[in-house]
Subunit: 328 residues, 2 copies
C-alpha cells in the first residue's frame, strides 16, 4: 500500500514515519511506498524497506493536493496544521491552512473519482471543546471551541464526516489528548509546561510551573498517539457508523500528581528543579481546557493508551527519548 | 438603523420584511433603511415608512457581500441557503452557497474594519443534529449532521461563534424547528407532509401522509420563527457568553396528535382528506430526525413560541394565511 502523510515534518509525523519504516506493514497490507509532505521538506525515516519520497509545498495552493494524489495513495494521514497559538495570532493563516488546506485536500480526493476511495485519518484535537463542560466529557458532548484553531479542527471533523457519508473517502477523525511528554525544546505554547516540568528536570534543567498543582488535564504519550494513528489507519471503519470523529483515550492527571509521579520515578531531587512562578494569563487560558474524557466509543473500538499511570508516561519518555537514563 | 436581509425572497424573508414594515422599530431603534438581497429580486414590503432597496445577486461571488456592506448595515439577518434536498443532490452548489457564501459574508464584515461591528443573526436548523439521539435533545448535545445541508449549517455556526469571540461582529445563531404550517404549494421536501396534512385539507384538497401516526417531530409556526428572529436581532447578546448558537423552542407533536388537533379545530370531515400512503424511503429519512428539544437556554434568554398546542399552530395558520376561514 501507498501511504501519504500530510504534515510529515512535525513531531508526530516524524515518529509515525519511523514507526512505519520499522513495521513495513500496516494491518495485513505491506507498505510499498511512503510519501512525506510538509511545508518544509520532511526527513525520510531510516531503514525503510519501501520507497520513500519527500515533497515540500503549500497545502493551501489549489494544485498541491491534486499533485500529491496523482499516485492515488491508499492511506492519507492528515496531520498538517498551524498550531493553536499561531492560528490565534494570525487568523488568515490559520483559516487558510487549517480550513482551506483541509478542504482542498478532501476536494482533491473527490476530484480523482473513478472509484478512488482512500482511508483518510484526520488528527483533530481536544481544542474542539470549550468550557463550561462537565468534569468528565462524554462522547455526545457539544463542540464549542474557544480558539480559531479549535474551530478549524471542528470544521474539519464535519467535512470529514459528510464526505465519508457520501462515500468520497473512508474517513476517521481522532481527537488527540495533549501529548506528554512532548520531546524537544520548551516552547511558548500555553500547554508547554505540562511537558516542560517533566522533560527539563530529567535533563538536569530547571522548568517553570505557571499554574497551581490542582490543575487537571488530559494526557497521552507520543507512543500512544502513534498507536492511535496506526489503529485508525487499519481498523474496520464500518464499526464507526455515521459518527466518524472520536475522542481518544488518555490519562486525567493533576499537576500535583505529575510531580508526585516524577518523584517516584526519578527521585525528590529531580522535582526540586521545578520552579513555581504563577502566571495569571496562563492560568486563565488553562481554566478553559478539558480535564477528562469518557472516550468510551474509542475504547470500545480498540483504541488504547500504552500507559496506565503517569509514572508510565515518564518511563516511556525516558525509554523513547533519553535512551533509558536521566540526570538524577 | 439599517437592516440587511440576505435571502429575503424566501418565505421567512418575506414575512420578516413585512413585519419590520409594520413595526417601524426594532427594540428601541427606529428602522431607517431596509436592504433586501436574494438570488432573485425580492419584493419590497407594503406600507414601510423607511426606505427599502432590493438587490439581486449571487452571494458566492467575491464582490457581492462587500457591495452589500458598503452602507454598513447595523443588523444583518442571514437566511440565504440552498435547502436540504437540493444541497444533497448538488454537492457543489450546496457548499458554494451555504458554506462559501456564509464565509464570504462574514469575511466581508471583517474586511470593513474601522470599528464596524454589526449584529448578525444566522438561521441554522435542527438538521445540524443526526440520529442516534435521546428522546429530548439538550443544549449540550453534539452536532452530527446526516446531510450536507446540516453540515454546512453546523460550519456556519462554528464560524459565527469564532468571529463573534474575536469581536468581528456580534453574532447569534438560531436553530429553527420545522416550520409548520408552511404556507404555499406542497413541495417534494421529505418534511413537506407535516404541513401538507394540515394546509391542504383546510383548503379543501387532499394530502398524502407517507409515515405512520406515531412519528414525532419538532414544530414552530412561521409567526414564532419571525418572533425568534426579532428577539435575536434586539436581545442583549452579552447574556450568550461564548455559546452563540441556540436550539429554538418548539412543540414536540406526533402526526397522530396533529390529526387529532385538526379534527378539534376544523372537524372530523376535514381530516378525511388525509390519504395514508406509506412511503418507505420517507419513513427511513424521517427516522433520523430529531423529535424534541429541551431548548432551556433559549427559553431562559427570552425566546418563546406564540403557540402552546398544535391547535394553536392550526389556528395561527387559519388567521395568518387563510383570512380566518377554511373549507369545512
Amino acid at each position: 500500500m501507498h501511504v501519504l502523510i500530510v504534515g510529515a515534518a512535525g513531531m508526530i509525523g516524524a515518529k509515525l514515519s519511523a514507526r512505519l519504516a520499522g513495521l513495513g506493514w500496516l494491518g495485513d497490507r505491506e507498505i510499498t511506498q511512503l510519501t512525506l509532505f510538509d511545508v518544509i521538506e520532511p526527513t525520510p525515516p531510516a531503514g525503510a524497506a519501501f520507497r520513500t519520497e519527500t515533497v515540500a509545498g503549500d497545502i493551501s495552493l489549489a494544485d498541491t493536493a491534486p499533485r500529491l494524489l496523482a499516485a492515488r495513495p491508499d492511506l492519507i494521514v492528515h496531520l498538517a496544521a498551524i498550531v493553536s497559538g499561531e492560528a490565534e495570532l494570525d487568523m488568515d493563516k490559520g483559516y487558510r491552512i487549517n480550513l482551506d488546506g483541509t478542504r482542498l485536500l478532501l476536494d482533491a480526493i473527490r476530484a480523482v473519482g473513478e472509484g478512488y476511495c482512500p482511508r483518510v485519518v484526520f488528527t483533530s484535537s481536544i481544542a474542539v471543546f470549550g468550557a463550561p463542560f462537565p468534569e468528565l466529557i462524554g462522547d455526545d458532548y457539544v463542540l464549542t471551541p474557544l480558539t480559531s484553531y479549535g474551530t478549524q479542527k471542528a470544521v474539519g471533523e464535519l467535512l470529514l464526516a459528510d464526505y465519508s457519508r457520501r462515500g468520497i473517502f473512508d474517513g476517521i477523525g481522532i481527537r488527540l489528548p495533549t501529548i506528554c511528554v512532548r520531546p524537544g525544546k520548551p516552547n511558548k505554547a500555553a500547554s508547554g509546561f505540562f511537558s516542560n516540568i517533566i522533560r527539563e528536570p530529567l535533563a538536569g534543567a530547571e522548568a517553570v510551573l505557571p499554574v497551581s498543582e490542582d490543575v487537571r488535564h488530559w494526557h497521552a504519550t507520543p507512543r500512544s498517539a502513534i498507536g492511535f494513528l496506526l489503529h485508525a489507519a487499519s481498523m474496520d471503519t464500518a464499526l464507526l457508523g455515521t459518527r466518524r470523529n472520536l475522542s481518544m483515550p488518555g490519562l486525567s492527571v493533576s499537576v500535583g500528581e505529575q510531580i508526585a509521579a516524577l518523584a517516584r520515578v526519578a527521585g525528590e531531587g529531580v522535582t526540586r528543579r521545578i520552579r513555581r512562578e504563577p502566571d495569571q494569563a496562563i492560568m486563565r487560558i488553562v481554566a478553559g481546557w478539558p480535564r477528562a474524557f469518557e472516550a468510551r466509543r474509542a475504547r470500545e473500538l480498540g483504541f488504547d493508551t500504552e500507559e496506565r499511570s503517569f509514572e508510565d508516561i515518564i518511563r516511556i519518555h525516558i525509554e523513547d527519548e533519553l535512551g533509558g537514563s536521566f540526570i538524577a
